[in-house]
């Protein structure tokens, strides 16, 4: 069992993701944007983060960049889950040291096996 921080500004998607993770036996912490996610990161020390890219206040890329500077986020697996496919964004994801890139709509089994694999 891992503790997963799920970040998405759309409540529906956040709940869907959290639900899928909970049913996989994981402990889930949610956040609605990057700013909130950073707070939750410090507070809950998750084993893995799955975050949306486009969010208000602080987007997923900026969040990962900031999280890597935190003690709790230094070597933390952090996955982007997004509908974006542009290579420029993927390059930027790599530059900010995101752990991986997943495309929405997500496949619950894939998410669960990746959490197993990475966290």
């Amino acid at each position: 069992m891992s503790r997963v921080l799920a970040v998405d500004d759309t409540r529906a998607l956040r709940v869907m993701l959290a639900d899928c993770l909970k049913k996989g036996g994981h402990d889930v912490v949610v956040a609605a944007d990057g700013v909130e996610a950073l707070e939750k990161l410090r507070e809950h020390r998750p084993d893995i983060v799955i975050t949306d890219l486009n969010m208000p206040r602080m987007n997923g890329l900026d969040f990962i960049e900031a999280a890597r500077k935190e003690e709790a986020g230094k070597t933390l697996p952090m996955l982007l889950l997004t509908t974006e496919t542009a290579q420029a964004l993927k390059d930027r994801a790599k530059a900010v040291k995101a752990t991986g890139w997943l495309t929405k709509p997500f496949d619950p089994n894939q998410i669960l096996s990746l959490v197993e694999q990475l966290a």
Binding site: T10, R11, A12, L13, V15, M16, D19, C20, K22, K23, G24, T83, T85, K104, P105, D107, P108, N109
Partner: protein, 164 residues
């Protein structure tokens, strides 16, 4: 979809100690009224973008859009219930749902919430209500924010399965 069903259909262990299995619905607004769709049928939620109009379709069919390379029809829920065509703008939302094996978009005013409802709190639709097309509703739920009408997507937007 079947994967969703497998994972999500099992009763929510974290759910409240209610009677009967808990169902979850994504709710959205059209003309201040709340409608709900089974969360398992919701693929994603998109901001409105202009669609490509199809000739000779029911007026509520707004056309098709490009969802990452596949063509998806978009229906206007307000118009389907007999209202005016939605003057869609960037603040409007298209809920992408599964209907049978097909992916379909439904244009609504806004997505509002996700509600968890014990199955036995879903009330049948009384006849003579003024909610529009009654056969297109699966049931009614009372929430603290008012009544939510649960949509029967197959009846609202029937899809044809492929055949030669």
């Amino acid at each position: 979809m079947s994967e969703f069903a497998e994972i999500l259909d099992t009763p929510d262990k974290n759910g409240a100690a209610a009677t009967g299995p808990i169902r979850q619905y994504v709710t959205f607004l059209v003309d201040e009224r709340s409608y709900g769709v089974d969360i398992n049928l919701v693929r994603e939620i998109k901001q409105w973008t202009p669609t490509t109009t199809l000739p000779n379709q029911p007026h509520y069919t707004r056309g098709v859009l490009n969802l990452r390379g596949t063509i998806v029809p978009v229906h206007d829920l307000r118009a389907r219930f007999g209202g005016m065509l939605t003057e869609a703008t960037e603040v409007h939302v298209v809920v992408i749902v599964w209907i049978g094996s097909k992916t379909v978009g439904i244009l609504v005013d806004a997505v509002s919430d996700i509600i968890s409802v014990p199955a036995d709190e879903i009330r049948p639709v009384p006849s003579g209500q003024s909610l529009g097309d009654m056969s297109a509703l699966n049931g009614l739920v009372n929430t603290e924010n008012g009544m939510v009408a649960l949509l029967d997507l197959n009846t609202l937007f029937p899809v044809e399965e492929d055949s030669f």
